[in-house]
């Protein structure tokens, strides 16, 4: 079971973060956080960018953990490395719009 989790964990984190950021955007707009200003940009955008960076940082942590600990089957490490890379690319690319698109319309 542990080995299976090693394969699934990184994409799972991407999916959770992706949904959370989408939810944050929805809630933020509803709560009017887009109008508040924080260091020259909208407060909501600052939060979204923070969430994006946190996601990437978490995935870096996962990557580190996967490399440092050994799976039960050596075979798993190759697979989990690929899925972790996929999750990383997905996190960077799919959430990248937080930096530039208009948020609430």
């Amino acid at each position: 079971m542990r080995d299976l989790l090693r394969i699934l964990i990184a994409p799972l984190i991407w999916l959770a973060a992706f949904s959370a950021v989408y939810a944050l955007q929805g809630f933020g707009c509803a709560a009017g956080l887009n109008e508040a200003i924080f260091v020259g940009m909208s407060f909501l955008r600052a939060m979204l960018i923070l969430a994006w960076v946190l996601t990437i940082a978490t995935l870096v942590g996962i990557f580190y953990w996967l490399e440092r600990t050994a799976p039960r089957l050596p075979w798993t490490s190759a697979i989990s490395r690929i899925t972790a890379c996929v999750a990383m690319v997905a996190a960077i690319w799919s959430l990248f719009p937080v930096t530039f698109t208009s948020i609430c319309n």
Partner: protein, 833 residues
Amino acid sequence: MNALKRHRLLTRIWASDSGWKRCFTTVSHTDLGRMFLGMAFFYFAVGGVLAMLIRAQLASPDAAFMGPDIYNQVFTMHGTMMMFLFAIPAFEGLAVYLLPKMLGARDLAFPRLTAYGFWCYTFGGFMMLTSMLVGLAPDGGWFMYPPLTGPAASPGVNTDVWLLGVTFVEISAICAAVELCVSILKFRAPGMSLDKMPIFVWYALVTALMILTAFPPLILGSILLELERAIGLPFFDAALGGDSLLWQHLFWLFGHPEVYIIFLPAAGLISTIIPVMSRTSLLGHGWVVASVVALAFLSFGLWVHHMFATGIPHMGVAFFSAASTLVAVPTAVQVFAWIGTMWHGRPQLQMPMLYILGFFATFVIGGLTGVMLAIVPFDWQAHDTAFVTAHLHYVLFGGFVFPVLAGLYYYAPLVTGRRRFFRIGEYAFGLVFIGFHGTFFAMHWVGLLGQRRRIYTYDADTGWELINLISSIGGFVLAIGLAMVLLDLALNAIVAIRGKRNPWRSGTLEWSMMLPPSAYNFASLPRVTSREPLADIPDLPTRLARGEGYLAVPRDGRREMLTVSTTHAHPESLVVYPGNTALPILMAAVTGSFFLSLLFKIYWFTPFAVLAVAALAWRWVWGLGSQTDEEDQEIGFGETVPHAMQTDRSQGWWGSVFLMVADATLFGSLIFGYAFLWTIAPNWPPPQWLAFSVWEPLIGVAGAAVAIIAARQTPRPMQRRSGTTTGMPHLLPTWQSLLGLSALAAAFIGLLLRTPLPTEHAYGAVLCVISAFGLFHALLAILMLVFLVFRIRRGFISSRRRSEVEIVKLWINYAALIGVVCLVLILSPVLFT
């Protein structure tokens, strides 16, 4: 014991009933897999006939063949049948039939559940089929968008047929998914560690996990819409704080993964067939596994791309557009792995390969038009035109039907034990291929010229006439081709000569059995040491028949199987399966009466149906287990394992875990819906908030805590070999848990009674559903606890026989947890208002 004697003994133990009873009482995966496939292809034929009706109507302008009412029913039923009654059950049938054989097992984890799923599918399907015959079929399109399908615009029973029928059928998908997960992880031949599982098994595992997480949003949506239609809870009614976009979210949260749930098993077949047909092994095996996992996850982050035309903020569009472009990558990895494998090996152009080539040609085009539609401005142009219909058929037909036909030709020798003799198939393939492209290539074109989808007719001066005629002619060529495929398969199954074992010279275990397979699959279970056991040990079949494997000695007339550890597949416990029984069909019939009572609005009957289901469920589990402790059992190779009922983690425990995954996803979707309505829906705040009271949270949380703590008190199992003490466990903690859960249930009843105006605003309606959800789980756990009390009293539980205790404990914890979250969801927002 010689091979023949072993065969006779095992056959007597494992055989299904003979005669007419067989199909009603069988629990054999071989039988049920065939029944699933047969039924799925029956619906493929019905759906195909409907498609022919559509094409006949559209062949000429101003056609008078069907009026708009009938046309709506026909295309809705075509889409619904193809998706829910053909594609998903065809996967289930394939998996149910093949997996134990590939895994070196004698059956799936829960044989009676397989049968129950099959009967739910059958009855639910008949329900929908009947509605069509009497002219009351669903007519809101296969994705059933409200407000068109809401109570005001569709007052008739048509929509209810869809909501209830599809939900009924989905029970079978959930059953199959739970079953496949547990079977793949625990019911393998010893030694088949995760890295040695055949590639199709990986696809099936990922697909099953996707079913568990993709179907719940749809089931929730169907429940909510049915509640709106039946008792007026306004979830999708914008005037009353609902939002019809909520349906679109819930539907596509299911609908996009659904596309991959359909595609992945087909891709699994391709990954299985290509290496064998090319006399080599799959190139980049690890990459393929990783890309299947990646594809599954990515497909859950795409759903909003079906809603680009609904006016959501740019950022949302950008997220989902970006994620949509990503899925192309793992798909491409697989395509390259397949091409590389063929390049590497020596491909032979047999029937299965022909269909795989057909797949390549078609699917690549479908992928390209998909990328076109992922570009938002293009989507705004092509949305709701025949272009989309053409795209989706390139993907679905190319990505599912072609590979499945390849799979049928590939596995026909295994299923029937015969060698192909009549050569109608090659011509049939030609007709299918030409017919398909004729039909749908034309539809791209006419879609770009502006023909909308779902129109029942069009004028003569649109310039679409000739293209539509070509498309319809293509459709009929396709239909003739498909009929010839079925004829070919049927003829060869019935009259062709007997074939020899392993005709394609594959290396995986399913080819190591007798043809056609015996009732018990393997006379003794192989000890697996590589990914292609049959290639390493060519005389494996004779060795297994001679008993040179695990469980070689039939014992006490019991159907025996091993469970193994998840990663390394070390033997863990001995499972004794239940025998043939009519309980599954009975249970499905009673479940059906529940759905029928809702359909015909005979609500006084519904509680009785629920009680009957509970009573049968009680019967179902009561028959398992034993009243005496059993010694650890010899399984061969000098190893012994405990009986599964004497372990903490029995197959029932694992099944519960996977069922909870599905249940928690449904709960998550409900929370999403609540938040969505609260923040996005118009006409909030509601006219009245729930008044806060300390009693419900106090009683509820205290009850949940008592239940969990008391459940922990049930004694830990004694060490395995510590003697034969069989003291009956204490009942006190059980009563305490029961009390706690009752308090939790009472809190929810209190909340339900106090919820303000559920029919006047979506707020109250959602609160009702959340309370009911918490109440349902508390009651479920209570039922299990009462069951446990009776089991303890009757001596089914001892300090060694404690698997049931562990299962009930799991459910108590889960119900308590769900209950507390429900309370927080209901009450915490009230504090801020």
